[in-house]
Amino acid sequence: MKRAALVVLLLAALAFPAVFTLPFPRHVMIMIFLYGSLAVAWNILAGYCGQISLGHAVFFGIGAYTSTLLVARAGVSPWLGMLAGAVLAVIVSQAVGFPVFRLRGHYFAIATIAVGEIVQTLFINWDWAGGARGVFVPIRRPDSFVNFQFNESKAVYYYIALGLLLLGLAVTRRLEGSRPGYYFRAIREDQEAAASLGVHVAREKLRAMALSAALTALGGTFYAQYLLFIDPEAVFPLSLSILICLVSVLGGVGTLWGPVVGAAVLVPLSEYTRVWLGGTGKALDLVIYGALIVLVAVAQPSGLVGLARRLGRRSPPGQ
């Protein structure tokens, strides 16, 4: 039953570009997939392992910058750049995580903010990487898969973004059913108790961080190839880090589908309010956005998935 619903959902997602041929709905879907995949990645570290990072934009930016600089300065295919970005993000995540994981709770969260700000400042002042002005991905015509550029139709981007999201979900699914997944959740619940049962807490946290960073970096490369321009303001800001976890929190942290649900609700909301209400410089869309966040936090801290579960439990089992 549940499996059938998933298959229908997947088929609908696959058929979407054939039905909706206008750019805007496709753009909204691409953004849902992108933010969904970022939130899924964040959820591995924060939702399952309980380490609330507010600096994930660092990995996103590393993914975006690595592939973009490689293609702009050395002509390397963005696909290789994507891989290189993921590897680099993992290396950075381990270098940062090793010391920072000694901190807990708010101290950890604020340290990740500090790391994010430092990295953003470094990139703003790094002239070779474009500094504050940013870098363009050189336009290549005609479209080709090798160049990771599809200027004629958003459909290809659509399927790549969908692929990223499915990859993230597959990783999470696999994690849920394996030893590291159990260890991550044990650490989230009580890291001393976990250690007493033989869990190497520091190593497991680094493992969660590596997975999370790599998946986030993939999204960064995708973003750069989709918009063909990046600057530090766009890929490193604190607001992006927060948005990533917000999507996850709205949907429900520590659940497989929570981040996807969150993205499916929040992204269209913010895209459409921006189109309807934004552009006037009045930021009414952000007012609504802010109010919504407060509302979610106050009314339903376990997210939409938690809400659905509670409703499901209340109703009698459907036999």
Binding site: R185, A186, D190, E192, A194, A195, G254
Partner: protein, 240 residues
């Protein structure tokens, strides 16, 4: 050779000395009780042995190998499991999942871990609650859960911090029987216990602590006659 040897362990917190020159040994298959008034340093002693705290001086050896500076997970891997005085279940996980975390120490395979967890839960009498969330259990059930979790790591030595603390009278005999069964199965245990009747019944030997120091180390029958122990502790609580 004894399984666990503690020699000269000392731990200070600021100006307070929690453990001073504590030494004792536990043989394979032995059941040793640890008693002492509140603040005598019993839980700190467990923390030192299991690597949760760093000793300022002294050594802990397991089968002759020095484990003083190892991390908690390394000590668990070497076959020492423990429970906590303040219960620490993984609240948001099911009973089975809680115990599987322990079982994963000996296998990476999920099915094998599930099997081992079922086995451990059956031995503590929680087999009917496997799918419940840990936070929904009673205190007595949580004690059993922590016990099962520790047992799932297949320890040679089990350190129990307060077997009967905080549970109602009716639950105590079951827990005591459980500990005795574990001991009968060949497991070595060190048990911190406030209930004197329970510890006198269970332990083969008792180590008494006061203000961080060992004041007696003898079989229960001698402990009840030791004047220092009576002074420090038994006098208030123990009426033979």
């Amino acid at each position: 050779m004894s399984l666990l040897t503690v020699s000269g362990l000392t731990k200070r917190f600021g100006g307070v000395i929690a453990n001073r020159d504590v030494s004792f040994a536990v043989a394979s298959g032995e059941l040793v009780g640890v008693i002492g008034p509140n603040g005598a340093g019993k839980s700190t002693l467990f923390d030192l042995v299991t690597g949760f705290q760093r000793a300022d001086a002294g050594r802990v050896t397991l089968d002759g190998a020095d484990v003083t500076r190892l991390r908690p997970d390394e000590i668990a891997r070497r076959g020492v499991a423990r429970t906590f005085q303040k219960l620490r279940p993984f609240s948001d996980m099911t009973v089975l999942e809680n115990v599987m975390v322990g079982a994963f120490l000996r296998t990476a395979d999920v099915a094998a871990a599930r099997e081992a967890a079922h086995h451990a839960l059956t031995s503590v009498g929680l087999a009917d609650r496997v799918d419940a969330h840990a936070r929904g259990l009673s205190t007595g059930q949580r004690k059993r859960l922590e016990l099962a979790r520790a047992l799932a790591t297949r320890p040679r030595l089990l350190l129990l911090d307060e077997v009967t603390g905080g549970v109602d009278q009716a639950t105590i005999p079951g827990l005591v029987r459980l500990v005795r069964e574990l001991h009968a199965g060949g497991l070595a245990l060190v048990v911190i216990e406030h209930n004197m009747r329970v510890i006198m019944e269970l332990a083969q030997r008792i180590v008494a602590l006061q203000l961080g120091e060992v004041i007696a180390d003898a079989p229960p029958s001698e402990i009840v006659r030791n004047p220092r122990v009576i002074d420090a502790y038994l006098g208030q609580a123990w009426r033979p």
